[in-house]
């Protein structure tokens, strides 16, 4: 159909997008300064690289959680999924290096499968995701205890553990680059690209107004289910890194779901969906980790972590609600 062509609207102004992350970047900068004051060595390239490598799992979990939250749902199952994956990996590998790669694939597939189940229960059976994933959380905890008779069995191979604890050493300028950091950079790039794709834009639209999205031809249930699968996948990768870094334990993933949600909220992503960027969520995770590092340097008890996390969640949600309703 021939419609008169007019001057197009002014194109996107990049400052608007960057503006959303500015407060977070400011907080990050302040934390860095505070850390540097207390512990100048921290800013040395090698120690900074190690810090980033250590933070990789929570950043990945935040990215996974972001997909779910921006689509208007929650995933509370990731912490126990990480634990389950670490325990399962130890038992399946049983210290046999030749089983490393098959087990890595099993873990990745398992993560996706748990996400699929979460997604189907939420979208097809219409159980609120809060409940679905809380149920999944409990099921996984119980199943792991049952399967391992109360104590982790077997052991991880060194090949498996290197992802989480080895690094490219003697790198010029940077000193060392942990494998975990490489994994993080690759997946983070993919996550950002995914959010720029049609799928990513639809995901946000679904979280903002699922009715409109459905009436525009979007497959809402499928889109949300994929978000859960991505979160499961992120949990699997995080489990591989965490297992490598800190070994096998029933505490491997404890509390990570709240860590991830806190990070996402801190990153300016609206609970309930429809607003915020995956880069913001990952920066939120980095900020959170840096804050805990800082608390550590200043001798604040580690027992305060949950309290701080809780306070941050409340504060961040209050601020974001205020921002979005003030006009």
């Amino acid at each position: 159909m021939q419609l008169v062509q007019r001057r197009p609207l002014p194109p996107q102004l990049s400052r608007v997008r960057a503006g959303g992350l500015l407060p977070l970047l400011a907080i990050l900068a302040v934390l860095l300064v505070l850390v540097a004051v207390r512990q100048p060595d921290f800013l040395a390239p090698a120690s900074l690289m190690s810090f980033l490598g250590r933070s990789a799992p929570i950043i990945l979990l935040a990215a996974g959680q972001y997909f779910v939250i921006v689509s208007g749902e929650f995933d509370l199952s990731v912490g126990s999924l990480v634990t389950a994956q670490v325990v399962v990996a130890a038992r399946l590998i049983d210290s046999d290096p030749s089983r490393t790669w098959p087990v890595v694939l099993v873990l990745l597939a398992g993560g996706v499968l748990v996400g699929l189940v979460n997604g189907l229960i939420t979208t097809r059976l219409r159980v609120p995701s809060f409940i679905t994933t809380l149920g999944m959380f409990l099921i996984l905890v119980g199943a792991v205890y049952l399967w391992s008779d109360g104590a982790p069995k077997g052991g991880l191979s060194e090949e498996f553990r290197r992802f989480g604890r080895r690094a490219f050493e003697d790198v010029p300028v940077l000193g060392r680059i942990p494998y975990a950091l490489v994994v993080l950079l690759v997946l983070a790039t993919l996550a950002v690209l995914l959010m720029r794709s049609d799928f990513g834009r639809i995901l946000v639209a679904v979280g903002d107004n699922a009715r409109t999205a459905a009436l525009s031809g979007a497959r809402v249930a499928r889109t949300r289910t994929i978000a859960f699968m991505l979160s499961g996948l992120a949990a699997a990768v995080a489990a591989i890194l965490i297992g490598g870094y800190s070994g096998v334990s029933f505490q491997a993933g404890a509390g990570l779901e709240f860590g991830a949600i806190t990070a996402v909220v801190l990153g300016g992503v609206a609970l309930g969906g429809g607003r915020g960027s995956v880069a913001g969520a990952m920066l939120g995770a980095l900020t959170l980790e840096l804050l805990f590092t800082l608390m550590n340097f200043y001798g604040v008890s580690g027992a305060l972590r949950p309290t701080v996390q809780g306070a941050i969640i409340l504060f961040a949600v209050a601020v974001s609600t205020r921002r979005s309703t003030s006009r």
Binding site: M1, T212, A214
Partner: protein, 502 residues
């Protein structure tokens, strides 16, 4: 000054900016007790902002508010309420599960020894309703079971229970069916007799002329003119609103040569809300669908678009039987649906104009042909439908209703639909944008699209349609040719005549 009684509300030099954009500039306005003062203007003219300032929602940047002889600064809507200013929004703010009385006295229930005194609450509500002549509405009725018009009465009673002396009515008839509008007229008259001042915001000029004592026209945040209604004509007001002449309200209808083959047919279509619907829709024509609210007009569009699909009957598109089981299936079959509830299911409010316009393309068309080209095309469409926004990255919720609707249109045009379903495409849209949308609908039909258009506004329905179906109780009550009168449509809609043998 004249012999007018001292004003109830006096605004002087009201100005307001958002993010450096002036939305109101030096507006003066006054309302006398018992006066109906209509405020008209295109969307984006500043009406809503002005109403929010009067009702305490926003603080003005400049200017003064005087109410009942005293200068006022409202800290919030509650301050304004306490001072005696009530506002009746387009969307009601009622608890559907509670009774009329409970809603009317919500938050300030009459108490006896610390407990809610239900008997007194009921009797006071009944008195209140009686003072505005609404004796038929029982105070103990559950609000959710009432019709829209009666719910509006509850909203008004709610404001009066707080001793409102000035009522702001924002598009009060937008949600009402035509026969309910008459009831509202009566109510407005009785409020006037009580000495209550009314600020009446509406797009419908008929009402404005029927009801108001004075009319104030706003354009681009400035006051164009305030005039006694008796001295004004509709043409004057429209010209002042849009700043130009609207030569004819509706574009020319289709000529026989424009009308092509049958695109879509329904035979015996039925579901929970529809029965035995037969329908033919041809390329190049605008088929109007009339009827009262709840007659099945919207249900028909929703059935066709697969939202609540037909459970019986046969639908064909270009001669082939087709099942449209979901909006996605309908979209892929070449249908497009502009919904009646723009905010609830038409826009994705917090996403950008561009994201909104790309939504359907992204959802159903794989981007193989190149995303850059697709985006460029959608940008052209946004420009072609003349969306006015600060940029295509602006969140759509900050646009006026008319501009939002144009973005929704661009979204569908990007898919080159063959069949377009419009449900109240111009509801809540200002005059200028309205005729732009009318033109666009007609141009689409002329380009070969088959258009089905639902409207509760009879002049629009009659002005736009090449042919009309009128619905009643989930059935097609009859068909009317172009040139039918409002009386013809109403007669079929309310069932005062025998149905045409169909």
């Amino acid at each position: 000054m004249s012999a007018r009684p001292p004003a109830l509300l006096t605004l002087r030099g009201i100005g307001k900016s958002f993010f450096g954009v002036r939305v109101l500039d030096g507006v003066d306005l006054d309302v006398a007790p018992g006066e109906v003062h209509a405020v008209v203007g295109e969307n984006g003219a500043g009406k809503s902002t002005l109403m929010k300032i009067v009702s305490g929602g926003y603080a003005p940047d400049t200017g003064t508010i005087e109410f009942a002889g005293q200068p006022r600064v409202f800290g919030g809507p509650r301050d304004a309420q306490r001072a005696g200013i009530g506002i009746i929004h387009q969307e009601f703010n009622l608890l559907p599960e509670r009774t009329v009385a409970e809603n009317v006295y919500l938050g300030h229930e009459p108490k006896r020894r610390g407990l809610v005194d239900r008997r007194q609450m009921l009797s006071r509500t009944a008195e209140l309703l009686a003072t505005i002549g609404e004796t038929d509405l029982p105070a103990e009725a559950v609000v959710g079971r009432l019709g829209v018009a009666q719910q509006q009465v509850v909203e008004i009673a709610k404001a009066l229970a707080l001793d409102a002396r000035l009522l702001i009515m924002d598009e009060p008839t937008a949600a009402l069916a035509d026969h309910e509008v008459e009831l509202l007229y009566g109510l407005v008259r009785r409020l006037q007799q009580q000495g209550i001042g009314l600020l009446y915001v509406s797009h419908r000029l008929t009402e404005v002329f029927d009801l108001s004592d004075r009319i104030t026209v706003l354009k681009d945040g400035r006051l164009v003119r305030t005039m006694p209604t008796a001295d004004a004509t509709a043409e004057d007001v429209v010209r002042q609103m849009v700043g130009r002449e609207l030569s004819s309200y509706y574009p020319d209808r289709a000529v026989p040569a424009d009308i092509g083959a049958v695109r879509l047919t329904v035979r015996g279509g039925g579901n929970r809300k529809l029965r035995d619907v037969d329908l033919d829709l041809r390329a190049g024509e605008v088929l109007g669908i009339g009827g009262l609210q709840g007659s099945g007009r919207s249900a028909l569009a929703r059935a066709l678009f697969g939202v609540e699909p037909f459970t019986s009957g046969v639908v064909t598109i270009d001669g082939r039987p087709t099942r449209l089981r979901s909006p996605r299936a309908a979209t892929r079959a070449g249908l497009a649906y502009v919904t009646e509830d723009r905010k609830g299911e038409g826009i994705v409010g917090r996403q950008s104009v561009l994201d909104n316009a790309l939504l359907a393309s992204r959802a159903v068309v794989p981007a193989r042909s190149g995303r850059a080209a697709r985006t460029a095309r959608v940008r052209e469409l946004l420009a072609a439908v003349e969306v006015r926004a600060a940029g295509d990255d602006q969140e759509i919720r900050f646009l006026s209703g008319g501009n939002q609707q144009k973005v929704v249109l661009a979204r569908w045009l990007a898919l080159d639909p063959l069949i377009l379903l419009f449900d109240e495409p111009t509801r809540g849209i200002d005059v200028g944008a309205k005729s732009a949308i009318h033109d666009l609908v007609r141009r689409l039909a002329r380009a070969g699209a088959a258009v089905l258009m639902i409207s509760s506004e009879l002049p629009e329905l009659l002005g736009m349609s090449d042919r009309l179906l009128v619905m009643r109780d989930g059935r097609v009550a009859g068909e009317l040719p172009a040139g039918a009168t409002e009386e013809d449509v109403l007669a079929l809609a309310v069932g005062t005549v025998r149905e045409a043998a169909a």
